[in-house]
């Protein structure tokens, strides 16, 4: 395989693995974030505090824990997930779920209660008022998505320990950068770094545009 096509493949793989991880994290984290943001209950502060602390989980530490869990000798070994793309997706999703939850709930808490009160006094029922709160939280949800995807695609620890940097299977941008650097291929590592940075910038710009569209559309 030529170098160019391999770089393209690695880039696409990084995008789809981290994209899927962010989507999975959104699927799990958004509802939890919404619940944490919308409903007051005993121990909510403790729960949000834990998730906020987990936001800064070192990737190698999470990688090690998940490696021990997914390893054949570990409790989830029967799933045969270690060193597969799926393990990477799961690992990165777990890594970014706290980000998803924290930013979402934080946004909703800061939007609520003024927007909820505004909607209610203008005649909205509880459900429509909740919908307004969510609609106003869109910016935070987009931020959460962007932060999640960016952290997923730029992390190394989980990818190395769960994916193993297997060529053609679990090799992604960050693991390639690490590998090429130890191999002394500094120029190649630098090129991959540029690709990673460009991707993150482009993705976030696109997301900002998408946010505007969605916001406009939500108010149609």
């Amino acid at each position: 395989m030529s170098l160019e096509s391999e770089i393209v493949e690695i880039t696409l793989r990084a995008l789809s693995i981290s994209g899927l991880a962010a989507l999975v994290a959104a699927g799990i984290g958004l509802p939890i974030g919404v619940v944490l943001g919308m409903y007051k209950f005993r121990g909510r502060d403790a729960v949000t505090g834990v998730f906020r602390a987990l936001m800064s989980m070192p990737t190698v530490a999470l990688g090690l824990l998940l490696y021990l869990a997914f390893s054949r000798a570990g409790p989830l070994g029967f799933l045969e997930l270690l060193y597969t793309p799926l393990a990477l997706i799961i690992g990165q999703a777990i890594l970014v779920i706290p980000i998803m939850i924290s930013i979402t709930s934080e946004t909703i808490v800061s939007v609520d209660p003024s927007i909820r009160e505004l909607s209610r006094t203008l005649g909205a029922d509880e459900r429509a008022a909740a919908a307004s709160v969510l609609r106003e939280s869109l910016g935070g949800v987009v931020l959460a998505l962007s932060a999640s995807f960016s952290r997923a695609i730029s992390e190394l620890g989980v990818a190395l320990m769960l994916g193993g940097n297997i060529q053609g299977l679990t090799r992604i941008l960050t693991t390639s950068i690490a590998l090429e650097t130890t191999r002394g291929e500094i120029a190649l590592g630098l090129g991959l770094t540029v690709i990673l940075l460009v991707l993150m910038v482009v993705f976030n710009l696109m997301l900002n545009q998408a946010e505007k569209r969605v916001r406009w559309w939500l108010w149609e």
Partner: protein, 357 residues
């Protein structure tokens, strides 16, 4: 034209009592003010009346009909609260105003017409396509008012409608409220710690302190009896007690009195009262000049400038004329005056500017 009544309403927040067995009744088509210091419970009372907060104890009557917790949505459909801190949706000005109509399933053509009317009333129609969050603070407050009136509520509640508002927006808001009350006979309840606003807008007032109703009555009477205790913030200036004495003079056909503020200072005012009075001289009615100017105003006093403070486009000059008088002038006239601390100046104001309680 709605009638709202709170009977023995108590609201507890955690362990503190925000409201303690209060009774409030707003009559149909009246303008009522809740006055009291910050934290007295005015906002909480408004939220209960507007159906946003279920009281811990007590009863709510709307148009003489008792409401239970589940009926609060009905209350909200027919009355609206305009918050002190402007809350707007992240969309255009137009869509913000349309929100209250959309949740009521009003037809699009009707929405178009009514939003337009409401925006014109608060003088925001030219900004209708702007992103609401990009409006200035004063514009956002007016937008909130438009959002409230577009649904044509039977009762409109306003929490501190003009606190920290620039004078242009204040005038617009007060004009809209008066017009609404006059034309549509909308019942309007405002909370304010600005007693001048209460005096200016509402005939009746309810004084709330520490979560309880201290007094209910005519605004002017409450002010007369308790003015000095009702000054809740430093935006209310130039309030003095003194004794009035009839001078046998007439001013534009009205009775002129001399009011002695202390041994050195007396001012002329139009009043038919004698004896102990409280007066207020609005800072914006006082003219400051270097040396005397030719004026028909009855009161001209000499003094030294003891303080100059700047607020937005305005400047406040404190002049010691025997009492400390605060004059509000524009910044450009301050620059033209070239006045500095300790300068000797003349202050001039009309007898008719002096409010006597």
């Amino acid at each position: 034209m709605g009638v709202i009544e709170l009977r023995d309403v108590t609201v507890d927040f955690d362990s503190t009592k925000a409201l303690d067995r209060i009774n409030i009744r707003a009559e149909p088509g009246e303008m009522l003010s809740l006055i009291g210091p910050n934290g007295a419970g005015k906002t909480t009372a408004l939220r209960v009346m507007a159906g946003l907060l279920e009281p811990t104890k007590g009863e709510i009557f709307y148009n003489n009909e008792r409401l239970s917790g589940a009926d609060l949505i009905k209350l909200r459909k027919r009355s609206t609260l305009v918050f002190q801190k402007p809350a707007v949706f992240s969309t255009s000005v137009f869509k913000n105003v349309a929100y209250g109509l959309r949740v009521r399933d009003v037809s699009e053509s009707e929405i178009e017409k009514r939003v337009k009317d409401a925006l014109k009333q608060v003088e925001l129609y030219t900004l209708k396509e702007r992103f609401a969050r990009n409006l200035s603070g004063g514009e956002q407050r007016r937008l909130c008012l438009a959002m409230g009136i577009v649904t044509e509520p039977e009762i409109l509640y306003l929490d501190e409608p003009t606190a920290y508002l620039d004078s242009e927006s204040t005038q617009i808001v007060e004009a809209v409220l008066k017009e609404l009350n006059k034309e549509k006979r909308t019942t309007i309840v405002i909370s304010t710690h600005n007693i001048m606003q209460a005096e200016n807008l509402t005939r009746r007032a309810i004084l709330i302190q520490n979560g309880t109703v201290q007094r209910t009555g005519l605004t002017s009477e409450i002010l007369r009896d308790q003015l000095e205790t009702l000054v809740f913030d430093d935006t209310t200036r130039n309030i003095f007690s003194g004794s009035a004495e009839f001078t046998n003079g007439l001013h534009s056909g009205m009775r002129l009195a001399s009011i002695k503020l202390n041994d050195d200072v007396s001012i002329d005012a139009i009043t038919d009262r004698d004896g102990k009075v409280t007066v207020r001289i609005p800072p914006e009615d006082i003219v400051v000049s270097l040396g005397s100017v030719l004026s028909s105003a009855r009161n001209t006093l000499k003094g030294r400038v003891s303080d100059i403070s700047l607020e937005d486009a305005m400047a406040l000059l404190t002049v010691d004329v025997g009492v400390n008088l605060v004059a509000q002038i524009t910044r450009s006239s301050l620059e033209n005056l070239r006045v500095a601390l300790d300068d000797e100046v003349d202050v001039t104001f009309k007898a008719s500017s002096v409010r006597v309680y």
